[in-house]
Symmetry: C2
Subunit: 279 residues, 2 copies
């Protein structure tokens, strides 16, 4: 198949590697000629250009630009697409993205490959990045069935774990398991460094170990990522934050009222539940 | 030196291994003869008994029973101690422990070796458990200086990182880096499993990955441990929880008011601060 990739970063470049491997012809589009050159030299694309005309034969296009630039990227390429070309994206939030992009291009299917590395950019792109990782497609009632089938077939070739969900169910699920943990973890670190007693703060720094390391990690990571998920998944995120505050208030009440058995029971429920989420 | 160890579990047994290695004579006291037999057979003690009389020659005694049993353990052995015997404990909360035990035995120094494994009991005891790990001693104004020196010298032989702090500073520091993370992490898991939409909850379970794994870990671990820290470090813990709630409220306000630059700045401060706590 003739496949276009817009945005040749970690995700775009890694998609290119796997799709070339599956026998597709890959047209890469980047704003920077240097990135095009890297992508061609590394073998992530069959050909690449800074001119959107390069996509005029693509039957399927992956939009792999940052979530805040997706609409702009799509508007840029629309004049060069065939009317039956299917467009998908890789943004990590889906409801607002699907609403906007679908209105611009009817043959659109939202997607979210849940894979990544600490590094970004074309030089970090790698083979089999999506293998055995979740890849959520988020069609809605208005999505063209042929478009869904086309994207699904390509995702299967990436050997990803394919899931289907409505855009809003996707956003609520990732709020729970990815975005709320960032806020909670950020609140932990942010509150800790407010400690005004320097002897206590200094001792805390010396004594911090694996528990603090794990719990503070995602809230002290890439600030742009944290900002991005809050900005784009605001509605679902605030809803999970409401529930978190309710749960924490309940835990506080158990402690204030010395209800140790009830607290232990709650912690037992957590211990039982966790293996249903992670190993 | 003649050293007594009361409670032959993971900590007591591991102390025994290292102190025998350093040339001390170790008297073990356990409620169960079977535990005494294991400790003798494994070489964690020089001799062991279920009779507190065994401690009548000990110059230093480590109380290694659960934090809720420390006072009872001390009361049990007091009739058999020499008047100059120094007593220390290994409880993970210090202010209430020091207050109680010091009133029972003037030659008392509070201590907290911050080492452990997922396993417990004499069969999990190991050599060099305390090596390069923090060991906090918590004397107060009333603590006998000779007693502090004696315990300090033995802790140094364990090759632990020795810290001194007041009992309340210790409790506030461990509330920040150990106990508050448990509550925050528990609140995350506990709120997540309240999600009433089964499609969302099921998708969340499928998509959960490293971020959720790390952030949910300590709040979904040993329920007795969580109960214990809340029960014994209640005052310091609730104080850190107040600050956490304030910080989270601030983060919520930034999101509600779309203050993305301010949110990114807060996350940058976290990113800068974290290496001062953990690698």
């Amino acid at each position: 198949m003739q496949i276009g990739i817009v945005g040749l970063g970690l995700i775009g470049g890694s998609l290119g590697f796997d799709l070339i491997q599956s026998g597709h012809h890959i047209y890469g589009l980047s704003r920077r000629q240097k990135t095009c050159n890297h992508a061609i030299r590394r073998g992530a694309v069959s050909q690449a250009s800074t001119d959107p005309k390069i996509l005029n034969r693509a039957e399927l296009v992956f939009l792999c630009t940052p979530i805040g630039s997706l609409a702009q990227s799509l508007a840029l390429i629309i004049p060069h697409l065939m009317t039956h070309t299917v467009v998908t994206d890789v943004g990590s939030v889906k409801a607002p993205v699907v609403e906007t992009l679908q209105s611009l291009w009817p043959n659109f299917v939202g997607g979210h490959p849940m894979a990544g590395t600490a590094e970004t950019g074309i030089l970090a792109a790698q083979n089999t990045l999506f293998k055995d990782r979740p890849y959520v497609l988020t069609p809605n009632a208005a999505t063209n069935l042929r478009a869904i089938e086309l994207v699904k077939d390509v995702v299967i070739q990436l050997k990803a774990q394919l899931y289907f969900a409505s855009p809003s169910d996707h956003d609520r699920a990732v709020a729970w398991i990815s975005h709320l943990p960032i806020l909670v973890s950020a609140g932990l670190m942010s509150s800790c460094i407010q400690e005004s007693d320097q002897a206590v703060l200094s001792l805390a720094k010396s004594l911090a170990s694996t528990g603090f390391r794990d719990t503070s990690r995602v809230g002290s990571g890439n600030p742009e990522l944290g900002r991005m998920v809050a900005e784009h998944n605001q509605v679902a995120l605030l809803k999970t934050l409401d529930q978190f505050e309710t749960s924490l208030k309940h835990i506080r009440a158990l402690i204030e009222h010395h209800e140790w058995n009830a607290l232990e029971k709650l912690l037992q429920e957590n211990q039982t539940a966790r293996p249903m989420f992670v190993d």
